[in-house]
Symmetry: C2
Subunit: 262 residues, 2 copies
DNA sequence: CGTCTTTTTGAATACTGTCAATTTAAGTGG
DNA sequence: CCACTTAAATTGACAGTATTCAAAAAGACG
C-alpha cells in the first residue's frame, strides 16, 4: 500500500494545454516492448516472470496515439484487440435505445480496455479519449496463442478479466445502495487511489471528465453532481474549482463511503 | 432465437413442494459427464465439438446437492472451483460494511458461478441456494490445464468470463438510468427469457426470490418492489399472486424498458 | 470578441424511502 | 390436525432526496 508517490507536477495541466481535436486520424504507429515499458508493473505483464515478459515482447504490440475526443473502438465493431492505456484517460460507454450515452468506466495508464468484446466477438462498448492519449493494441488471438503455451500467462489474462468482473460488482453495489454524497465520495476515493498508485498526488488532481460523464457513470444527473461537489466544499471536505479538485479531509470522504447508512 | 419451448408444467411448484431445510450437510456426491448432461447446450460445453467435450468428461466433475438456504461458497473463501447450476436457483451476494446484504445476481440451470474468484484467488461473493438445488463443481486448475492443450477450450472459458462482464454492464445501465417500473420490467423480461430458453413458460412462472432480494438486486426497497408489482397488476400488465407471476402484456413490459425515458 | 459549452444555483415537482399497521402464508409443536 | 409463532408481502401516510426546468455565470475556442 505504501507505494512511493512521486508527486507529479499538477500545474502541468495548465502550463501545457494539449492541442485537442486536430490530427484525429494521424495513426503514428510504433512498436513497443513490455519489458522496457515504464508501466510493466501495473499493466498486462504484472505478475509475470522475466522469460514470460520476453515472450510478450515477441508479439511487438502496436503503439498508437488517440487525440482527445477521438474514438478508439466502437460498440458493435469486430473485436480483435484489447488495448492497454499508456497515457491519458479514456471513458467507455454504451448507447442506450433512446440514443443517450451511458458511461460504464474510466480508464487510465496501465489499465486494459475491451475485454467485454470476447463474449460476442464484437465490442460491447465504445472507448473514447478524454484527452490526448497513447495506447498499446494487443492482438487477442496472439495473446491466446501465448496463453496456450504457458499456464501462468493464461492465468494472467483470466485474472484481468475476473478483475473487471469484481470492479463492476463494486460499482453495482455503489449504484444500488448509496446516495449521491456516498457515490461521489466513492468515485473520488477510487480516483485518488488510482492516481496515487501511478505516482500522482492522491489529494490534488484534475478531473478529465465532465459533470455529465461523472453523473452518467454514477447514476445521477449532472446538476446533482454539481450540487454534491458544492456540498462537499461547504463541509470543508473538498476544495473545488471546476475540474480541479483538492481533497482536504480524506478520512471524511472514506467515512461517508464506509457508513453507507443511506 | 426460435428455440423449441417445451412448455414445462408450472403447477409442479405447488404439487411437489420441496422439503426445504433439513439435510443441509448431506453431501451426496456423484460424478457427472458433460457429454450426457441434458444441459450441455446451455452450460460450459456449449460451443465445443465432440472430442473437446470428451476431454471435459475426463475431469469427472463432482455433483452435489445444496439444500434451500444453504451456502455453496462464501465471500473470502479460497477459490478452487467454479460451479455450474444443474437445477434450482441461486443468488450471489456481497456483505456490505454495515452488515447488510447486496444481491449481485441470480443463477439458474446451465449458468456458471464463481468466476469473480479468479482475480484474487478467493471468492468475491457468496452463493446461496434459493431452493433445493444441484450443482457441478468444476476444478478451476484442471480446466486451465485443458485450456492449455486446446485453444477453443480456452476460448470457451474466456467467453464465459466476458459474458459475465457484459451481463454486469447491462445491470449497471439498468441501475444507473431506469426508474422503478423500468427496473422491474427489465428484471421480469430477463427472467422470462431465461426460463423460455430452459423450456419453461415465458409468461407464467414462480419467483424463487423474495421482494427484499429483488429489491437489493435492482437497487430499490422491498416496499417499492411490492408497489410496482401492484401497479403493473392494476395496469393489466401482470397478474401477481405473491411469488406466482403471470405476464399478460409482454409487449408493454418490453416497451417500458425500451423507452427508458426516465 | 462573440459563440458555444460547461458549470452552478434556485424553485418546484416527482419519485422513492421510511415508518407503521395489517394481512397472508408458512413453519412449529402440542 | 389445529393453535401458535414467525416470516413475507401489501398498503397508507409522510418525509426526504434527486430530478426537472430555468436562468445566469464562467470558461473554452475559433
Amino acid at each position: 500500500m505504501s507505494t512511493a508517490t512521486l508527486q507529479a507536477p499538477l500545474r502541468a495541466f495548465k502550463i501545457t494545454p494539449v492541442p485537442a481535436a486536430a490530427r484525429a486520424t494521424s495513426v503514428s504507429t510504433l512498436q513497443t516492448q513490455c519489458s522496457s515499458c515504464h508501466l510493466r508493473d501495473l499493466c498486462l505483464p504484472c505478475g509475470m516472470n522475466a522469460p514470460e515478459v520476453e515472450r510478450l515482447d515477441s508479439l511487438m504490440f502496436t503503439r498508437r496515439r488517440v487525440a482527445a475526443g477521438q474514438t478508439l473502438y466502437r460498440e458493435g465493431e469486430k473485436f480483435q484487440y484489447i488495448y492497454a492505456v499508456r497515457s491519458g484517460t479514456f471513458k467507455s460507454s454504451l448507447t442506450l435505445a433512446d440514443g443517450r450515452e451511458q458511461v460504464s468506466g474510466f480508464h487510465m495508464a496501465g489499465e486494459l480496455m475491451g475485454l467485454d468484446g470476447v463474449a460476442q466477438g464484437k465490442h460491447a462498448s465504445s472507448a473514447i479519449a478524454l484527452e490526448d492519449t497513447e495506447i498499446c493494441a494487443i492482438p487477442y488471438s496472439h495473446l491466446n496463442e501465448l496463453a496456450m503455451q504457458n499456464s501462468n500467462m493464461q492465468h494472467v489474462v483470466s485474472r484481468m478479466m475476473s478483475r473487471e468482473i469484481v470492479r463492476e460488482h463494486s460499482l453495482m453495489m455503489l449504484l444500488g445502495s448509496m446516495n449521491a454524497e456516498e457515490r461521489l465520495a466513492a468515485f473520488l476515493l477510487n480516483l485518488s487511489q488510482r492516481l496515487k498508485t501511478r505516482g500522482y498526488s492522491a489529494s490534488e488532481f484534475h478531473l478529465r471528465m465532465s459533470r455529465a460523464e461523472i453523473g452518467s457513470y454514477l447514476g445521477m444527473k449532472l446538476e446533482t453532481v454539481s450540487r454534491t461537489f458544492s456540498a462537499f466544499q461547504q463541509q470543508g471536505v473538498l476544495e473545488v474549482d471546476k475540474r480541479h479538485i483538492r481533497v482536504l479531509d480524506l478520512d471524511r470522504l472514506a467515512r461517508a463511503v464506509e457508513m453507507r447508512v443511506h
